[in-house]
């Protein structure tokens, strides 16, 4: 298990490999479909993003409302491919890490190799458990989007798996191959 802290620099990103189990701590930002659409619209207009993406990690999530006294509601990952259209631009602007679930396309993987990006998988459908790793939560932009608003989170030991590393290795491909090879060899 690798302990990792944000910001995620190029140096740190390059030490990570597909299949690594990571406990992530520090500040991360949330953003999903509607927020990403606005990010690229801001960029097109030459306006700044709600946060400086340099060496930052974005979590594709739309949490449930926090109950009274709670930091956040359930907050597992959403499916990442819907952000594929925006991810290369975000990495070009300095974004280093993405947290979600599900496959990424070849353009995203190419951008990850170019900009030393890392794609982490959180376990889909484990939102109640993941909430316990979120220590603070503050809406910093697009409040009108409700669950899709951009939040600044402080996380502690958020359990993640490196799915695609900065070298282009993809656990969704290699993990499945390794499992089937093991089966074929009777392991």
């Amino acid at each position: 298990m690798i302990k990792l802290e944000t910001p995620l620099t190029v140096e740190k990103a390059k030490t990570l490999h597909a299949g690594d189990q990571v406990l992530l701590s520090g500040v991360i930002y949330t953003g999903r479909d509607a927020a990403h659409k606005r990010f690229v619209e801001l960029v097109a207009k030459g306006e700044p993003l709600p946060f400086d993406p340099q060496d930052q990690v974005i979590y594709y999530v739309g949490p449930t409302p926090a109950k009274p006294g709670a930091v956040i509601g359930s907050c597992g990952p959403t499916t990442s491919y819907r952000m594929d259209a925006y991810a290369p631009k975000m990495m070009e602007l300095g974004l280093r890490g993405m947290i979600g679930k599900g496959r990424r396309n070849d353009e995203v993987k190419a951008a990850m190799r170019q900009y030393a990006g890392v794609y982490f998988g959180a376990i889909g459908g484990a939102g109640a458990l993941i909430a316990s790793c979120i220590k603070s939560c503050e809406i910093i932009a697009f409040e009108d989007l409700g669950t899709e608003a951009v939040r600044k989170l402080t996380v502690e030991d958020l359990p993640l798996t490196v799915v695609v590393d900065s070298y282009g290795e993809d656990l969704y491909i290699s993990g499945r191959e390794d499992y089937l090879k093991g089966k074929a060899n009777g392991n």
Binding site: G62, G73, S74, T79, Y81, R103, L145
Partner: protein, 280 residues
């Protein structure tokens, strides 16, 4: 006629929305535990352990199992001797509105799919399907559906000559296309026959059957078993990290169809397969 008050329906829907988003159905939970025992990959076993622990925490703290508390899909079977003293669809939507607010559930519905994607902020409208049946009871099945898995469902208008082999190939192709996206282990519902619209509903109803249930027709029951084995030999595994448990169940429903066709629909649900029946 037996009279049912709209207030009774509103309360039943609201309570069911909260309950089912926080408590994983017993059959699904039990199947998850069995899958942990059967699993032969370490990372897959660990992932399933996490899912069990998550379901436990959700139940104990009445927190949503998953942040995607879904579109509220409501399957209604209304006895023809039932009279509702008001607007039934409006009552169901009001129940969804109250349940999603009171239960701190996520509001995930936009008012227009393309031109104006603005959140309706109360998770309405619900998706309601009606069946009129004999009797004087009202059965409401509340099945919130997340879109990680909903986006992975497919319908194909197959040719009669495609036959059983064509259906088998299509099922495996849909699971392959979905891969890690719909949060495996998944529950698969297959509809065969009927028409373009009815086959999708059939697949949904198959998906909502108890994970231990079997089709009463031995030909379809054998196909369910065969296809579940084939899906679980694909190696996708829990969370898509590789492993045995790609699906918890595969159920098939079928219906008569036209001489020229063999519609087939494959519905996929994530492991948080939520459905709760209320009979009034």
């Amino acid at each position: 006629m037996r009279e049912i008050a709209v207030e009774t329906i509103i309360d039943a829907i609201a309570d069911a929305c909260i309950d089912i988003n926080c408590k994983l159905p017993g059959d699904v939970y039990q199947r998850l535990i069995e899958a942990i025992e059967e699993e032969d990959s370490a990372i897959a076993k660990h992932t399933l352990d996490v899912l069990k622990e998550n379901a436990d925490i959700a139940r104990e703290t009445m927190s949503p199992i998953c942040q995607d508390t879904g579109m509220a899909c409501i399957f209604v079977e209304i006895g023809q001797e039932v009279h509702v003293n008001g607007n039934l669809s409006a009552a169901i939507n009001e129940g969804v509105r109250r349940g999603y607010e009171k239960g701190y559930l996520r509001k995930s519905v936009v008012s227009d799919p393309m031109f104006n994607r603005v959140n309706t902020k109360d998770n309405t409208p619900a998706i309601i399907s009606y069946d009129i049946v004999p009797g004087d009871q009202l059965k409401l099945t509340v099945a919130p559906k997340g879109f990680g898995s909903e986006n992975m469902c497919q319908v194909k208008m197959m040719k009669p000559s495609d036959g059983v082999e064509g259906v088998k190939k299509f099922i495996l192709q849909v699971v392959e296309d979905a891969g890690p996206n719909p949060c495996p282990p998944i529950v698969i519902g297959v509809g065969i026959g009927g028409t373009f619209d009815s086959v999708a509903l059939m697949a949904k109803k198959a998906m909502l059957r108890d994970v231990n249930s079997e089709n009463p027709d031995p030909r379809y029951r054998d196909l369910e078993k065969e296809m579940l084995e084939k899906v679980n030999a694909m190696g996708i595994g829990p969370a898509g990290f590789g492993g045995r448990t790609t699906a918890l169940a595969l159920n098939i429903e079928w219906a008569p169809t036209h001489i020229a066709g063999m519609p087939c629909a494959v519905a996929i649900c994530c492991h948080v397969s939520r459905h709760k029946e209320v009979v009034l």
